[in-house]
């Protein structure tokens, strides 16, 4: 069952890999032209605080330094967007989409239990997301080494930051899975996970722009991830621990709902 979903998604995974690797390669390669450029620094400084936050800028870390640049251009924008969009689409498909289009019918009537179906298909989706992560990571490290990114930061920190984006993506994958598993529909699964992603991003930006709104940020997975530049500070519980715990709880809730309800086959 796990193999089946992997095989079914191989073409999509291939295309997405091309996107991931070229996206990451472009951003990291551009570092060489941005390095120590004071102009960019000035541009960023003049932006409103909320927008600065969305770029992942942090006091005391220059945008033209390797960690500042990578955080702004790679880890707070292109990489999470690529991984989240991919993960959410996939997550909604695990149960919701496949139940809605009826292709799960002969699977749920086979000797496989619903629990096994959910676990295996979720596992396959997770592997597909991890494949994109590995492709992004390998590309980033290879190009980064070529343009001298790792003169300023360690490869280990780069891996840690990538891991944190991965957890952010897997959290949204799990939300899409759980809502799809609970409803048997693709639409609600896609919407729920997308709303959490966009709302989290917006709340993070708003909270940074006005002091009075700051407490709001605690509910944003983006804040957990972006608050501290992991390239500078190293791993934090908020970025690496919390999404994992939360995803596990959401997965169990989705699984329980799936095991208990009537299936909505066409």
């Amino acid at each position: 069952m796990l193999r089946r979903l992997l095989l079914d998604r191989r073409r999509g995974a291939l295309w997405w890999s091309i996107g991931t690797s070229s996206g990451v390669a472009t951003i990291v390669a551009l570092w060489s032209s941005v390095k120590n450029s004071a102009d960019l620094e000035d541009v960023i400084k003049n932006l409103p605080k909320g927008v600065q936050a969305l770029f992942g800028t942090e006091k005391g870390i220059s945008i033209s330094s390797a960690p500042g640049y990578l955080q702004a251009r790679l880890f707070s924008t292109i990489l999470p967007v690529l991984l989240l969009v991919y993960a959410i689409g996939l997550g909604a498909r695990i149960i919701g989409g496949a139940e809605e289009d009826g292709t799960l019918q002969l699977v749920v009537t086979s000797p496989a239990t619903r629990r096994r179906i959910a676990i295996e298909r979720f596992g396959a989706a997770k592997l597909l997301v991890l494949l994109q992560v590995v492709i992004g990571l390998v590309t980033g490290i290879a190009i980064g080494a070529a343009v001298g990114v790792f003169d300023d930061i360690s490869v280990g920190r780069f891996v840690i930051a990538t891991l944190a984006v991965t957890e952010l993506a897997l959290l949204h994958l799990t939300i899409a899975f759980a809502v799809g598993a609970a409803t048997g529909r693709r639409g609600p699964a896609l919407s729920a996970a997308s709303i959490v992603a966009v709302a989290g991003y917006v709340i993070y930006g708003i909270a940074a722009s006005a002091h009075s709104l700051e407490p709001l940020r605690v509910v944003s997975p983006w804040w957990w991830f972006l608050d501290r530049n992991l390239l500078v500070h190293g791993p934090t519980f908020l970025s690496l621990g919390l999404p994992l715990v939360l995803a596990a709880a959401i997965f169990v809730a989705g699984l329980v709902a799936y095991e208990r309800r009537d299936l909505r086959l066409p």
């Binding site: 069952m1 089946r4 079914d8 289009d101 009826g102 292709t103 019918q105 002969l106 699977v107 749920v108 009537t109 086979s110 000797p111 496989a112 239990t113 009537d262 299936l263 086959l265 066409p266």
Partner: protein, 301 residues
């Protein structure tokens, strides 16, 4: 539950909100028999079948299948299921789809799969997306039979199959029965099941309104005989099974109860140009059966 029952439904009920799709169904399907589960569309047949497969959970009552619960994997391993609405992934080839469903059951008997593919003239290398509806049904039929099931649950199995394939399919059912397989076959048209069914239950608005041997529920048939010339007066009077005769010029319209044998023999004396048979739909058959002795229809109509 008796040792000879393949399926036992006890007060099986399913409600969707205010709608009662299946109402307190009591039914036992014996091992080794072919049970025809009939009813007009929307009568609750598919809902019942889905409760037998743990796709839906009963609101109340119970269903036992092969001495176990419908959700029990070891029970489902022994069931071959052909859904009414078959949705296959269009990206797979026929072979991939069948292998996948086989793998979920610990692998199909490949030689049996190959024999079925040949028998139904289906090319395993073709992509599901390129197949006609009839050919997709064949994939469904093959996966249902290829696991050597003890129980076949077939929901509207011959819809979408042309007459030749329907015939082939029913032969396959007969062969399985000869091997001791129990068959639970749903349909909204009687002719589809009357060839193979031992017993028939008729479902209407979620309630079982009739249960009996195939001959008990065989409905009346309407036949029009188009003759070369106007028949002599009374030519079809007093013939066995004829309930009603109307003559309009050269056309004789007959309503026949049971076998039409006597009618055919009587017609043989005349020159018959055309015989038109009107499919008596199940609703009519049911209404005939459901008429109370006083002649009133006591159903909720």
């Amino acid at each position: 539950m008796t040792a000879t029952a393949a399926i036992t439904m006890s007060a099986l009920t399913k409600q969707f909100g205010d709608l009662t799709a299946v109402a307190s169904l009591d039914l036992e399907v014996h091992r080794g028999e072919v049970f025809g589960f009939l009813g007009p569309n929307g009568a609750g047949k598919t809902t019942t079948i889905r409760m037998l497969l743990d796709i839906l959970r009963p609101t109340s009552g119970t269903a036992r299948v092969l001495d176990g619960a419908p959700g029990d994997p070891s029970v489902r391993a022994r069931i071959g299921f052909l859904p009414a609405d078959l949705h296959l992934d269009p990206r797979h080839t026929v072979r991939e789809a069948i292998d996948y469903y086989g793998a979920l059951r610990g692998g199909f008997d490949q030689s049996l799969v190959d024999r079925l593919l040949t028998r139904f003239d289906l090319d395993p290398a073709r992509s599901i997306g390129d197949l006609s509806t009839g050919n997709r049904r064949k994939v469904g039929v093959i996966q249902a039979f290829a696991g050597h099931p003890d129980l076949l649950i077939l929901d509207e199995p011959t819809s979408g199959l042309d007459p030749l394939l329907q015939h082939e399919f029913l032969s396959l059912v007969e062969e399985s029965v000869a091997d001791g397989v129990t068959v639970f076959l749903s349909s909204h048209v009687l002719p589809e099941v009357e060839r193979v069914a031992d017993r028939i239950g008729i479902l209407r608005r979620g309630e079982l309104v009739s249960l009996g041997g195939i001959d008990d529920v065989r409905p009346r048939q309407r036949l029009d005989l188009h003759l070369a010339a106007e028949p002599p007066g009374g030519a079809f009077d007093g013939i066995d099974g004829v309930v009603e005769v109307e003559v309009h010029g050269n056309v004789v319209s007959l309503l026949v109860d049971g076998s039409v044998d006597a009618v055919v023999k009587a017609a043989a004396r005349l020159t018959v140009e055309r015989v038109v048979s009107h499919e008596t739909d199940l609703e009519d058959a049911f209404l005939e059966l459901y008429r109370s002795p006083s002649g009133d229809v006591s159903a909720e109509q």
